[in-house]
Amino acid sequence: MCERVTVEDVERAIDMGFRDLESLRRYLRIGMGPCQGRYCIPIALGILSRRLGVPIEKLGYVTVRPPLEPVPGKLFLRGAKDV
């Protein structure tokens, strides 16, 4: 969505050899936007499952990196002596 990736883009990438979610994500930038893939990764997972003929539960999910939601840098700001 926010990275403007279409279903066609995903299908073409799968056919080019990007046959797992981690690679599709990095090749197309699915899930790299502000919501961190909450919306588009499940959609991409469905397309991958259909294209490869592999059930979704066998494909696995992408590694979820902290923080779970974007948080402002100031939450981590410390006095210079503390770090």
């Binding site: 080019m16 050899g17 990007f18 046959r19 797992d20 981690e22 690679s23 990095r26 090749y27 930038r29 790299m32 502000p34 961190q36 990196r65 902290p66 923080p67 974007p70 948080v71 402002p72 840098g73 100031k74 981590f76 700001l77 410390r78 006095g79 210079a80 503390d82 770090v83």
Partner: protein, 376 residues
């Protein structure tokens, strides 16, 4: 029978697969246990420089930078010669970067001290009020790790290189002092040559194959902000802490700094890292406390005793080659490493004397690489 099997689908393995395919050096197979780039490559900052303090690093990286330029021309890889900028906040840090500069000049590297006006031009969103001085390297730059792996992967595949992804190599098969192939899924894949380019995981793989290598994986950490328009072009380094920050091709700011980690430590989350990196960079990037941190991840530096890579043939095992131990600088070195490894495989010799100095036997023979000067 494969002519060459490459173990490891990071930037080193993928660059080598392309190089071998281009040179028509027979049937090439690359094996990656997870997904391409999944080890250290996709966790790295993508910085590229020749401004080191040993002859080996400087000579090899000068060639690598030429080759990065060619990769951009030929494959359209996202690479920019946007510089490195060392920011000194104290007089002692300024003295240290002057020491670096003297070494760079000995090897014809055109690094120079720059003033606030210059910094404001190349890095408009860096606050210079606490700056005692700065060193700029115009030959340095950055490339996009995803783009660099994927475009070389697609080009190599087109030229006939084969890729086996999602399979782990159990061991290199060595019989009578000769590498004969690799074991995957309980079966044997025979090969005339085997290249181990498995980054931090090379030490475990070689250990399972009966080969010792002085390699110690150490966790490092990086964090990424949301994306912005142009903030600063060069990769910036805070000399006092060694922290770096780079604005990626997608506009995010990727930052890293050392925190204490044990050798062979697990890749885990450290709140202390986020605190240190945000606190250090908030002195130069005054807007950082107000912007969002999107992601944070750990990754390995695979360290050698002299912090230089291990390249080329392994003494005592015929047809076995290694390209690992980059100690945090593997991404930038990949193009020259591919060229040197292809030369070793094709002709039995490296292309340059400096690459030849990096063979594994240097440690036993007392020829570990020496820095030209100990600075600071």
């Amino acid at each position: 029978m494969y002519d060459v099997v490459i173990v490891g689908g990071g930037i080193i393995g993928v660059s080598l697969a392309l190089k071998l395919a281009e040179q028509g050096l027979g049937r090439v197979l690359l094996i990656e246990r997870s997904y391409l780039g999944s080890g250290s490559t996709f966790r790295c900052a993508g910085g590229i420089r020749a401004s080191f303090t040993s002859k080996e690093h400087i000579v090899l990286m000068k060639r690598s930078i030429e080759l990065w330029g060619e990769l951009r021309e030929r494959l359209g890889i996202k690479y920019a010669r946007s510089g490195y900028l060392w920011l000194a906040s104290r007089e002692e840090d300024l003295e240290r970067i002057k020491g670096y500069m003297r070494i760079h000049h000995m090897f014809g590297l055109d690094t120079r001290l720059v003033d606030e006006d210059f910094v404001k031009q190349v890095a408009p969103y860096v606050d210079t009020s606490g700056m005692a001085g700065a060193l700029f390297d115009p030959l340095a730059g950055k490339a996009d790790p995803f783009d660099s792996v994927y475009k070389q992967f697609l080009a190599a595949k087109k030229l006939g290189a084969e890729f086996l992804i999602g399979k782990e190599v159990a061991r290199v098969i060595i019989e009578g002092g000769v590498a004969r192939g690799v074991e995957v899924d309980g079966g044997k894949l025979p090969a005339r040559g085997v290249v181990v380019a498995a980054g931090a995981y090379s030490v475990h793989l070689l250990d399972r194959s009966g080969v010792k290598i002085p390699l110690t994986p150490v966790p490092h950490h990086a964090a990424l902000t949301e994306d912005f328009e142009r903030l600063f072009d060069p990769l910036i380094i805070d000399v006092a802490s060694g922290a770096y920050a780079v604005q990626t091709f997608d506009g995010h700011v990727l930052m890293g700094v050392d925190v204490e980690e044990a050798p062979f430590g697990e890749l885990g989350v450290r709140l202390a890292f986020l605190e240190k990196v945000v606190t250090v960079w908030s002195r130069w990037l005054k807007w950082l406390p107000g912007v969002n941190i999107l992601r944070y991840w750990p990754g390995y530096y695979e360290m050698t005793p002299d912090h230089h890579p291990i390249l080329g043939p392994v003494a005592g095992v015929e047809n076995l080659y290694v390209a690992t131990g980059f100690s945090g600088h593997g991404f930038m070195m990949a193009p020259v490493v591919a060229e040197e490894m292809a030369s070793w495989i094709a002709s039995g010799r490296p292309k340059s004397r400096e690459a030849g100095n990096l063979v594994i036997s240097r440690f036993e023979e007392g020829r570990a690489i020496k820095e030209l000067a100990v600075i600071g």
